[in-house]
């Protein structure tokens, strides 16, 4: 495993109708459906980014989890800060793929929508984060069977060792039919939690 002397500066979770940062609850809502929950969270967290409403479920999930971490960094300076993004999940963009598939399944009732189709890739959610926060940085999206702290940590350290990034947002953003889970963390020179596989796993399970 590659090693660098970096720290997890902050982290966020979105799951079970809650949004939290560094383990502290920011928002909770009893809505049954994800779209209602995430819209309420967007409002409560004072996000102020109307393009949010055009996004698919996976992008909304990833965008809000990242926004919680990036809010504290003025976006005008992000370009200089060079924050890379390394995300992963299990279900890729299946939720939106299914919506698109349903619109083309029937030859007689064939009506695909470009607004849906554009989200039929998982890494589009990285694009949404990059657009909002003006990140011209390296990014990658991996599909795994399950959360893999080792892969994320290795890839992140590789970016640092090759001087490809000064900070990295890593994590897991998964959306499938009726389940969702986001866990993102910001790795930098600052902080008290060492950036390693053990700590990433610990924070993921918090």
């Amino acid at each position: 495993m590659l090693k660098t002397n970096k720290f997890i500066q902050s982290y966020s979770h979105i799951r079970n109708n809650t949004v939290s940062k560094n383990g502290t609850l920011l928002f909770e809502n009893a809505s049954e459906a994800f779209p209602d929950f995430i819209k309420a969270a967007y409002n409560a967290l004072d996000t102020g980014y109307p393009k949010f409403f055009k996004m698919d479920n996976l992008s909304k999930l990833a965008f809000l989890a990242a926004d919680v971490l990036l809010k504290e960094i003025p976006s005008a300076t992000n370009k200089e800060q060079n924050i890379a993004i390394v995300l992963s999940n299990r279900a890729s963009s299946l939720d939106t793929d299914r919506k698109h598939q349903a619109s083309i399944a029937n030859k007689e009732d064939y009506f695909p929508s470009p607004a849906v189709f554009v989200y039929t890739l998982p890494n589009i959610c990285i694009g949404e984060i990059s657009i909002k926060h003006r990140l011209f940085s390296e990014n990658s999206f991996f599909i795994f069977d399950r959360f893999s702290a080792e892969h994320l940590a290795d890839y992140t350290n590789g970016l640092f060792l090759n001087n490809k990034a000064e900070k990295v947002i890593g994590g897991w953003v998964d959306f499938d039919t009726d389940t969702y889970e986001a866990f993102l963390y910001l790795v930098s020179d600052k902080g008290s939690i060492p950036h390693n596989k053990k700590e990433i796993n610990r924070l993921y399970r918090l």
């Binding site: 030859k107 470009p114 554009v118 589009i124 694009g127 990059s130 657009i131 003006r134 990140l135 011209f136 940085s137 990014n139």
Partner: protein, 400 residues
């Protein structure tokens, strides 16, 4: 400053020719390959023009001596033909003498067969073979099989219109890092209803000949093509006493961070990509003798790319032109097609005209080269700017 990676062979099939020589003759003869569509039965056939290759699939299959049970998409057929030309040009007789990889780019993969047979797949068993040919990686595997690459890296890059440029960049990096001795890099995309309808929906298809960098440009013509380069390590070049056509001297890829499809108005991504490529090459803007622009003739691209050129080159902008008026926009293959054209420009000391240009764009003062021009060239910069702001730049030089 990095040393260049040697290019020892190239192959191409496009709307303006079935070989490197034919493509070159069309370029200097100012012969466009744009016409009404013949091989695809689309309801848009009277509203669009395309750069189509004048062979049926059956003719392409027979060129490759494939049996009737094959499940090649047109992408795989075109790719295999261009890649085999490149290997022959590099005078490679035994692919296994050196560790050889394949990096192939495509955006449509086997979509041409899928869209043709989709509604028959459930009932018609004889057509189900094409399901395996659908994904982008299948065309790469087939090209690898055709070249006899069985034991090494074979991978696919699909980053929209910058795909082949990224394949060339990735291949060059693998050679530099010593991971491979030799790598075949390029891309292939056939025409399909999928791309025709998609671009039609975006309202960026011209109903006539495309006119890059013209004030009254109406959009792009789609094209189909494939092109591949052979890159070899210095050790192989020396051991085999290889003739080097040119060098991949610089490369850069940047994220535009602007929109899922459109390019930023000020060309942020393209500017970053060109700056990175110059840095890798150890060159200054004034060292570039010709810019082979992406120049798709869409309102968005030409404005964005033109602004980026001004930002990077300022007063030092050399002659620039887009060859899309010849070939149409060949999507994932475009970076490789234009790599071949850039290398030919270096070899023959010639700058191709930006055909169909009439009216100066009002947003800026820069004007493309509109006539064939002889000029000694040492370094050519080629842009490939993809949807989603995936922007890439390659720099080719005569000297390492």
């Amino acid at each position: 400053m990095g040393k260049g990676v040697a290019i020892t062979g190239m192959g191409i099939i496009s709307a303006i020719g079935n070989t490197v020589a034919e493509n070159y003759l069309a370029l200097i003869g100012e012969k466009k390959g744009i016409s009404r569509i013949a091989w695809i039965d689309t309801i848009h056939k009277n509203e669009i023009m395309v750069g189509e290759i004048n062979f049926s699939n059956a003719e392409l299959e027979s060129q490759l001596a494939l049996d009737s049970n094959n499940n090649y998409s047109r992408t795989a057929l075109l790719g295999a033909i261009a890649a085999k030309q490149a290997i022959a040009a590099a005078q490679i007789t035994n692919i296994d003498t050196y560790k050889t990889g394949l990096i192939s780019a495509t955006s449509v993969g086997g979509m041409d067969m899928t869209e043709r047979y989709f509604y028959e797949y459930l009932e018609e068993k004889s057509l189900q073979k094409y399901i395996d040919g659908h994904h982008a990686g299948d065309s790469s595997q087939k090209i690898a099989e055709q070249l006899g690459i069985n034991h090494s890296l074979v991978t696919t890059i699909s980053t929209a219109c910058s795909s082949a440029a990224n394949a060339i960049m990735f291949g060059a990096r693998l050679i530099k890092a010593g991971k491979l001795d030799r790598v075949v890099v390029g891309g292939s995309d056939c025409l399909s209803k999928f791309t025709i309808n998609g671009f039609k929906t975006l309202m960026i298809l011209s109903d006539t000949y495309n006119t890059p960098f013209d004030e009254n440009r109406k959009g792009l013509n789609l094209g189909e093509a494939a092109a591949f380069l052979v890159l070899e390590s210095d050790a192989v070049v020396k051991a085999e006493n290889k003739k080097v056509l040119a060098y991949v001297k610089g490369y850069g890829n940047a994220n535009d961070a602007y929109h899922q499809t459109a390019s930023s108005e000020n060309g942020d991504g393209a500017t970053l990509a060109m700056e990175k490529a110059l840095k890798v090459a150890g060159l200054n803007p004034k060292d570039i003798d010709y810019v082979n622009a992406h120049g798709t003739a869409t309102g968005n691209n030409d404005l964005s790319e033109g602004k980026a050129l001004i930002r990077v080159f300022g007063e030092n902008l050399p002659e620039f032109s887009s060859t899309k008026a010849y070939t149409g926009h060949t999507l994932a293959a475009a970076g490789a097609i234009e790599a071949v054209y850039s290398i030919l420009a270096l070899q023959h000391s010639v700058i191709y005209p930006n055909l169909n240009f009439k009216t100066q764009m009002k947003e800026f003062e820069i004007t493309p080269q509109t006539t064939l021009k002889e000029k000694t060239l040492s370094a050519v910069l080629s842009n490939s700017l993809g949807f989603g702001g995936n922007c890439s730049t390659l720099i080719f030089t005569k000297e390492p």
